[in-house]
Symmetry: C2
DNA sequence: ATGAAAGCGCTAACAT
DNA sequence: ATGTTAGCGCTTTCAT
């Protein structure tokens, strides 16, 4: 590798254009008080020299970085991958750069923020589920005046800008959909205990069914004995739901991956999907689309939510105390052509 | 949000400890020439004041950032997600931060680098497949003296540090494995034309079989008519491979997602997997694990490769011209307990 | 509308 | 072993 060429500075450009460095700075930053004539000359000099402003110097002088930070769990997960996609795309669109901050499950986010992130001078931070519910983190951020946006927070919805998907609405529509199809006995593969989304999805689904006239005794809720393996979790619950008691004709699973695992097992039992058994998931992930027949599922506009989060972070005003409900869509597995039914 | 407290500077700490700012700097940067006594005093002052060095100032002064950049495709994809996981984790371990640079499929990476990345002063860059084969980008990086590491490059293996997975070895082992199981008629669901990994996997698989004594006429290679939908691609090829001509007893698919799609279709045909038909994928992705029975597949240590890439980037020496072959592992779907067979 | 000076917080290079 | 000086490249403030 060659040694890097000496970078072009504002002063270099200024010399070339016959103006001061400050004038060049004004042009670069689109200040209005510059004569069109000088502006043109400066822009020509910028183009000629290939000048690129130095981020570090700008950050030091303005005490603002052009970095957006996003907390991320340390595991392969459709939800986070989508979130990152949206955030990266939007950051780029606004001239910012997305930094990933991977936090271990067993460590304190607030501590990590203090130790490693505070000095970066992040322009804004994205707090996806889990992190957005750490009161200690929120306290630390507000103490610093650090701008942030929360995604689907479980606590203090009015505390600060937050964007969430209306899981309750989604499962309610799903319940109606299945009920309309004629299903009367249901199973639920519930998510982890204590996980808010899990509670909302499970309870919302059940309540909607009851509201439709379903008897509680016709809804069986099962939870995997262990979460170590998604495949095993799905099989475990399938075993209980399909081998014992009166078999449900429709099962709603906490997410698509669990639904896929459950379906695999059901097929081994020679059940035809969706004829003998309808299975619904949540997230509208790759898994839901790859499965055959495609999974009934609830789509969260994750990418768009992340884009909106970044949009708020880069906007001049601290984005207000807005809460943004998001429309949900249901995809039908009984119709292989998988059309979206709008809210 | 409160207004941020005035940040603590080196000078502040120095005043408190009764030393110069520079001495504090030396302590922070672990310079050896500091008396244990003063070091202790300074460290106490640092702890008391809650001092955190300012990244921007440090970057400006040293002309080094603590940022690792990683080029990323704009789509949800197991491979890139894993790569990001490994890179984020390793960056963090070394005190760096990982920045994602999402590049659209239809734009020039080299141009984007010039426009948006050059002024960041990246400590190092990770070039995953596709980007690592842009000669224009490599030229631009070397012109700038920009440190970088390539992952599985298709061109110029000796040009610069690169890390690759030995796909050829993987498919060779896979071929042997299937042959040993007694398969004699094979199908291949090939990847996109012109894609290097696709060529290596397909050709390597076929050549290995031929070497084992398989007749070329017993190996049928099929390619989806369209790549718009993975599910449809899998069905498309399955249709041709399983409905026409003599049915193969084993099919190797370019990746796990295609394999899953193909399997779904095969099951609709009432073929029992793996009894009637063995299906193998590539990547060892979530899909391979969620499928039931689990997919035969070839595992790339993607996370570890990314970690190694970062390790090279942060090491003082420009990491040499080393090429790093990586061991491959094969997982067997005929054995549901999915043990790894070491190389 | 433009320029000059000062300084953001840090470190390299030279003192001592 | 520690302190002093002079910037890094930019922006702010205050002149003009």
């Amino acid at each position: 590798m060659k040694t890097p060429p000496r970078p072009v500075t504002l002063a270099d450009v200024g010399a070339k254009a016959g103006v001061s460095a400050k004038t060049v700075s004004r042009v670069v930053n689109r200040h209005p008080e510059v004569t069109p004539a000088t502006r043109q000359r400066v822009e020509a000099a910028i183009a000629a020299t290939g000048f690129k402003p130095n981020m570090a110097a700008r950050s030091l002088a303005t005490d603002r970085s052009f970095l957006i930070g996003c907390f991320i769990v340390n595991s392969h997960n459709f939800y986070y991958a989508e979130l990152v996609r949206g955030a990266a795309r939007a950051s780029r669109r606004y001239g910012f750069h997305l930094v990933l901050e991977e936090i271990d499950a067993d460590e304190s986010v607030a501590d990590y923020y203090h130790e490693k992130m505070r000095n970066i001078g992040y322009h804004g931070l994205i707090l996806p589920p889990h992190y957005c519910d750490s009161a200690a983190l929120l306290d630390a951020l507000e103490e610093d005046g650090q701008r942030y946006v929360r995604i689907s927070p479980a606590i203090d919805p009015d505390r600060s800008p937050s964007i969430y998907a209306d899981d309750g609405q989604g499962v309610s529509e799903l319940a109606e959909h299945l009920w309309r199809l004629g299903h009367r006995r249901f199973g639920v593969l519930a998510g982890p205990v204590g996980h808010l989304a899990s509670t909302i999805r499970c309870d919302g689904f059940v309540q909607s069914l009851v509201r439709l006239g379903c008897s509680s005794s016709d809804i069986r809720i099962e939870r995997p004995a262990s979460w170590n393996s998604i495949a095993m979790a799905g099989r475990d619950v399938a075993e209980r739901l399909l081998r014992t008691g009166e078999r449900p004709t429709a099962i709603f699973c906490y997410n698509d991956e669990l639904a896929a695992a459950l379906i695999g097992y059901a097929r081994d039992m020679n059940l035809s999907i969706p004829h003998d058994l309808a299975v619904a998931g949540f997230d509208d992930s790759e898994t839901a689309r790859l499965n055959w027949p495609p999974l009934t599922t609830v789509h969260q506009p994750i990418v768009e939510m992340a884009e909106r989060a970044v949009g708020w972070l880069v906007s001049p005003e601290p984005s207000g105390q807005t809460i943004c409900p998001v429309a949900l869509k249901i995809r039908s597995s009984t119709d292989p052509d998988a059309v979206f039914i709008p809210e």
